[in-house]
């Protein structure tokens, strides 16, 4: 399973918010074109880690990072590294779907337009292909110009996924993407992910351990800012090496 090359690598990663330390010296290698599931109780640093990968934490005053994260071997926190370009390579799906107050079509082309894609035909193609990959094309193809806010929650989240795919990224970060969704919408997102991993590196933070067991190739268990255990999903869920991991996945705490 580890045969895929390393896409992202965090070395001795520490994160601070003011005086508080959120991540404790994390080391993790994330292979290309697989789904990494990150599980752990609330406050374990899952989301902080995820948001460090596209430098979205930069927006928070008093947030500070030490150590390094590399994407294809390049340090993304290097002063000369282009943050805007990074975010186009590393897309992010948030816990709650956030369609921008624009039409469905305009939501999808938001990213591509910023990158300078202006050709209508190319944009049309991009809209169709990304909506198809997110399993929502058939539901919206006849109302691309209606406001995205009018879609249902499950549809909105798939629209947001499509919006990321339109960036043609390399990595997709998902922060508990199904926490507010019904089982059918969740199934659709999971189905999309298992297909998308052939083209993208996917990192899925989830509160739902079963979801990690279903879709993740490798799973990491975070606890209080530390990486407790990391390995192939099958092994982690059947023969966990650490007692805390087995306690968590069997529901003894968390």
């Amino acid at each position: 399973m580890m045969s895929n090359p390393i896409k992202i690598s965090a070395k001795d990663l520490k994160a601070f918010y003011g005086p508080e330390q959120l991540l404790m010296s994390l080391n993790i290698d994330i292979p290309d074109r697989q789904i990494l599931g990150i599980i752990g109780p609330a406050g374990s640093g899952k989301t902080t880690f995820l948001r460090s990968l596209n430098r979205l934490n930069d927006l928070i005053p008093d947030f500070r990072i030490e150590g390094s994260i590399t994407l294809d071997g390049q340090d993304i926190y290097h002063p000369k590294f282009d943050v805007v370009a990074l975010r186009k390579r590393v897309g992010m799906l948030f816990a709650l779907p956030v369609p921008l107050p624009k039409s469905i079509y305009e939501n999808i082309i938001y990213g591509p337009r910023l990158s300078g894609v202006g050709d209508r035909k190319k944009l049309d193609q991009l809209v169709e292909s990304s909506l198809r990959s997110a399993f929502i094309w058939d539901e919206v193809k006849n109302r691309l110009n209606s406001p995205a806010m009018r879609l249902s929650g499950g549809q909105q989240q798939r629209l947001c996924l499509a919006r990321i795919l339109a960036l043609e990224p390399e990595v997709i970060l998902l922060d508990e993407p199904c926490s507010g969704l019904d089982p059918i919408s969740t199934a659709k997102i999971e189905e999309a992910l298992t297909i998308l991993k052939e083209k993208y590196t996917i990192i899925l933070v989830t509160n739902n351990t079963k979801q990690a067991a279903r879709v993740a190739d490798r799973t990491a268990f975070f606890l209080m800012g530390s990486l407790v255990e990391y390995g192939p999903t099958g092994e982690l869920f059947t023969v966990p090496q650490d007692k805390r991991t087995s306690d968590y996945i069997t529901g003894r705490f968390g």
Partner: protein, 278 residues
């Protein structure tokens, strides 16, 4: 003894209902009063002909043009300055002593009586900068007068845009400015328009600051360096000097109708914009 909640609820509803009714009644009364007194002299001829005999006879065409020009100048200067300041305060700086000082300054500026602005405009624009009594001097003075309102309403509007919109925009590879331009400002537009409309209303209704800076010439202005008289000033002079009560009310009626029309158009456009996106 305590009244049962059922009655206090009823009483509260009644009191607040009456307060609303009273407010509405006063508004309607003022508008009807002005229209009733003014409408008899109002007509296309009144609107589109030149005043004669200091305004005793004839129409108010140059006054209408002067009002429009002066307001346009004020808005054209105050909107970019005000919205720009609001964007800077909310999006580009962290809350600090400096932003608090700027905000405090804006609040103080908003509380200064308009005649002080008039005096300042007279000394600074008319005399020191030698712009004379002109639409430009008046427009600049009004712009400074309405600036605080536009800053504060825009700031509130921008602050009420959910942070999640900004986060999404950044996560899709937008820079801060692109986020402001494409997401924040469109979402904040209704609030910003409200602020600008308040500014328009104040500009059109202002008398003291205008007399000092734009003068009160009744001639048709041909450039921004010409002196001009606004409807409010015209009304003031006609009424105060006892030139013509009828024409004073006629002017007032047009003033009221203009403000109503501007507000209706602005809110209509805004509703359409909001409905399109939500």
């Amino acid at each position: 003894m305590r009244m049962p909640p059922k009655y206090t609820q009823l009483a509260a509803q009644l009191v607040m209902g009456l307060a609303t009714l009273a407010t509405l009644a006063i508004l309607v009364f003022i508008i009807l009063f002005v229209l009733e007194k003014g409408l008899p002299v109002v007509g296309l001829k009144f609107l589109l002909s030149n005043p004669q005999d200091m305004g005793k006879a004839g129409g108010i065409f140059p006054v209408v043009v002067g009002t429009i020009l002066l307001t346009l100048v004020a808005i054209a200067i105050a909107t970019p300055l005000g919205v720009g300041t609001a964007i800077y305060l909310t999006e580009y700086t962290r809350e600090s002593r400096i932003t608090r000082v700027i905000r405090f300054g804006a609040d103080c500026l908003a509380g200064i009586p308009s005649i002080i602005f008039g005096l300042f405009g007279f000394i600074f624009f008319v005399t020191i900068l030698q712009m004379g009594w002109s639409i430009l001097s008046g427009g600049l003075t009004l712009a400074f007068m309405i600036l605080p309102t536009i800053i504060r309403t825009s700031e509130e509007a921008i602050k009420s845009v959910p942070d999640s919109f900004r986060e999404v925009s950044f996560s899709l590879g937008a820079t801060r400015w692109e986020t402001v331009q494409k997401v924040v400002l469109p979402s904040a537009l209704p609030g910003i328009v409200t602020g600008v409309m308040l500014g328009v209303g104040r500009s059109i209704g202002e008398t003291a600051a205008v007399i000092f800076t734009a003068g009160s010439s009744l001639r048709m202005p041909t450039s921004l360096m010409d002196s001009a008289r606004t409807m409010s000033v015209h009304f003031y002079i006609l009424a105060r000097e006892g030139i013509s009560t009828e024409n004073a009310y006629g002017t007032a009626a047009i003033l009221v109708i203009t403000i109503l029309l501007i507000n209706l158009t602005a809110y209509g456009l805004m509703n359409r914009f909001v409905a399109k996106n939500n």
